[in-house]
């Protein structure tokens, strides 16, 4: 990131529009802004921070130009705005932030709601300016807000890192500037994701599919067994029937019971016939019920016909007089009563009027057809109803007949069982047993049939459940893969984190040492600079002893500066170093040493300075590297500052 310019509008003492361009030159990379205390250096520093990160400002009253407010009428809208244009990567960005307020009768300014708008525009190398969708997120990928404090800093606080109690600050700085926070957050969030996904996986992975498949196999095996049982019963039925036929045949041979047997056979045939009749009636009822939707929809059909009739009566559906009929009368000029009429007569005019209200042929045809169909459906429903009632009556009739015929046949059978001949009685008993067996067989067949039906229903249900479980299984597979990926990613980040952090600490230590030695004028006195494993920034003197407690304020500032620039260099962050009054507490020797090295430590250097802190040799050191230089002129008459470019 290199800043191109800042545009201020009614910002603090900067009344109206004011612009300051920064040097982005590789060699002459220094921009110096001179100003006496209170001229507006800190306001400019604040403008940059506020525009890019929205920080440092609580309300519009803090930043809006008092001059602008004083010139506004009561109730008039006043605006303050800062634009910062910068380059990052190969793109040019313009960040804009503004606040809008309204002047109150008291002279104060009341901030309008939702006016703190932050807009980030971007221009690709060969493109048209576009608005960035996520300006805050984008700004934070360029230079995160928490990292920014190590690049845009107040010179008064620069020695913070070198204070004995600031190990946590040092660690935090490394953590943020070197993206270690990104790594730890990623690791923590991936671990949480893996944990959550495991919970979901546990919920859906109950071996449900396996259980269902096993049950399906068992059900199908049972169905096969039932089929086999049914076939066996059918064969058994045939066999019993054969025995029964034989018994009946033998009984027919006995002259004494021939008549009874004939009756018995007749009743048996009648019963069989009645059973066929009963079965036919039951089938007809079943078919009738399943196809009787028309019967059940008759209330709807009645309602539809009533609506059509009502519309016809209201005239919404035109009369029944067909267009063609009227046209024929007009063409023939003969009334339906047979009286001729001419064009000038009332009859002609009346028919012409009727023609206008006559139904168009197509619409009338449609209405007639619809009405006809509805009536047809109604009649079909009525017919179905009658048919169903008839079949149900038949069913009852056949059942009654079977009961009666069976009773009569049993009566005959009892007579034969009481016959004098032992053989006849024996055969009759056998027949009774076979009939009982036949009855038991039929009951068993019915039971097996019902069981087969039940198993089939269960198999269909299982098929549906298996299909659903397979879908769940797919989900389980996906969840399982997500858990695996999240865990592997978290583990890998954890694995590299430790090594990366340790290596970077050593690199920062080496770089800090190198920079500190180039900046500190007591080079021989300070033998070493260490960044310990517990992130203590330490200076070792020539006696090998920790010298940080005895560092002067200026030396602490130099140590901090060395650490910050070392961090920026190790992190390879292309960010400007913006320092507000950095040399105020330094002695001339320190200033001279720092100004000699400072331009080489960052790609862009912006210094807000007083004339007192930057003069003589220190200023001379910077001269060859200055690309832009400004003076802030404060006018005591207007309390406003103007930015003047120096040549």
């Amino acid at each position: 990131m290199r800043i191109e310019r800042v545009d201020l509008f009614n910002f603090r003492q900067y009344f109206g529009n004011q612009r300051l361009k920064f040097s982005r030159h590789d060699e002459q990379n220094v921009t110096i802004i001179h100003g006496v205390n209170g001229a507006g250096k800190t306001s400019l520093f604040l403008a940059l921070n506020w525009c890019l990160y929205g920080e440092g400002v609580d309300n519009i009253g803090q930043i809006i130009s008092k001059e602008a407010v004083s010139r506004a009428q009561i109730g008039e809208i006043v605006e303050t705005k800062v634009d910062v244009t910068f380059h990052h990567g190969n793109k040019r960005y313009t960040a804009s932030r503004k606040l809008v307020g309204q002047r109150q009768p008291s002279g104060k300014i009341l901030e309008a709601k939702t006016t703190a708008e932050f807009v980030l525009m971007r221009v690709p190398p060969s493109g048209i300016m576009e608005r960035v969708d996520n300006p805050i997120g984008t700004m934070n990928t360029i230079l995160p807000a928490n990292v920014r404090t190590y690049f845009f800093f107040d010179g008064e606080k620069i020695d913070n890192f070198a204070r004995p109690e600031q190990a946590t600050e040092v660690q935090k700085a490394i953590y943020q500037v070197l993206d270690l926070e990104t790594l730890t957050r990623a690791m923590r969030h991936l671990q949480k994701a893996a944990q959550d996904l495991r919970g979901q996986l546990k919920q859906i992975s109950t071996g449900e599919l396996k259980k269902l498949v096993e049950e399906d196999e068992q059900a199908r095996a049972k169905e096969t067994e039932m089929h086999s049982r049914r076939e066996g019963l059918k064969r058994e039925h045939i066999e019993i029937q054969r025995h029964l036929d034989e018994v009946n045949k033998w009984l027919r041979d006995f002259e004494s019971v021939q008549e009874l047997q004939r009756l018995y056979d007749q009743y048996t045939r009648d019963i069989e016939f009645a059973q066929q009749g009963l079965e036919k009636a039951v089938r007809a009822i079943r078919d009738g019920v399943s196809g009787s939707y028309v019967r059940f929809s008759s209330p709807s059909i009645d309602a539809a016909l009533a609506i059509l009739e009502e519309k016809r009566q209201r005239g919404e559906i035109p009369s029944n007089i067909r267009e063609q009929f009227i046209q024929d009368l007009l063409a023939r000029q003969i009334c339906i009563c047979g009286r001729p009429f001419a064009e000038h007569e009332d009859a002609f005019a009346h028919l012409t009027q009727l023609l206008k209200t006559a139904t168009p042929t197509s619409l009338e045809d449609d209405i007639i057809e619809t009405t006809g169909r509805l009536r047809g459906l109604l009649e079909a429903g009525n017919r179905q109803s009658v048919e169903l009632n008839t079949r149900m009556a038949e069913q009852v009739d056949w059942q009654d007949r079977i009961t009666s015929l069976t009773a009569q046949r049993d009566d005959v059978h009892r007579q034969m069982r009481g016959a004098d001949e032992e053989e006849i009685r024996g055969l009759s008993r056998q027949r009774e047993e076979f009939n009982d067996d036949l009855s038991t067989n039929l009951v068993e067949q019915g039971r097996v049939e019902a069981e087969i039906e039940s198993v089939r229903t269960r198999i269909k249900e299982l098929e549906r459940q298996i299909e659903n479980a397979k879908k769940s299984d797919k989900r389980a597979r996906l969840l399982s893969r997500k858990v695996e990926l999240a865990q592997k990613a978290a583990d890998k980040i954890e694995e590299v984190y430790g090594t990366f952090a340790a290596n970077k600490r050593v690199e920062i230590e080496e770089k800090t040492r190198e920079i500190f030695h180039s900046l500190a004028w007591k080079g021989d006195h300070f033998q070493d600079v260490r960044l310990t494993e517990d992130y203590q920034l330490e200076v070792i003197d020539r006696y090998g002893l920790p010298a940080r407690p005895e560092l002067s304020a200026g030396e602490r500032q130099v140590l901090s500066l060395s650490f910050i620039t070392a961090m920026a260099m190790v992190a390879q962050r292309e960010a400007p170093l913006i320092m507000d009054t950095p040399f105020g507490r330094l002695s001339s020797a320190h200033r001279e040493a720092i100004t000699e090295q400072l331009p080489t430590l960052a790609p862009q250097l912006v210094l807000f300075v007083t004339d007192e802190e930057l003069r003589d040799k220190a200023l001379e050191n910077l001269k060859p590297r200055i690309g832009a230089e400004y003076r802030l002129r404060f006018d005591a008459n207007t309390s406003c500052t103007t930015i003047e470019e120096m040549n």
Binding site: N134, I136, G137, M139, N140, T141, P144, A145, N146, L178, D179, E181, T182, L183, R185, A186, H189, L190, K192, A193, L197, R477, L478, R481, K482, L485, A486, K488, A489, K492, I493, V496, T499, F500, A571, Q572, R573
Partner: protein, 64 residues
Amino acid sequence: MASLQTQIASLFDGIEPDVLDLVTSVLEIEKEFLHLERPHGVMEKIEEALERVAQASIKNEAHS
């Protein structure tokens, strides 16, 4: 010296492509939310990345 991003990316050299894809995506997401102390929506974005990478991984497995 390579940029910090390149240095971090190089730490993950040689790991499974699916895991690398996920790590890269998650680091991008985290950077986007880094300015927030308690970011809302970061888990949803990570879940989206996980879903995408896992789906692709299963698909690739089926094709290979």
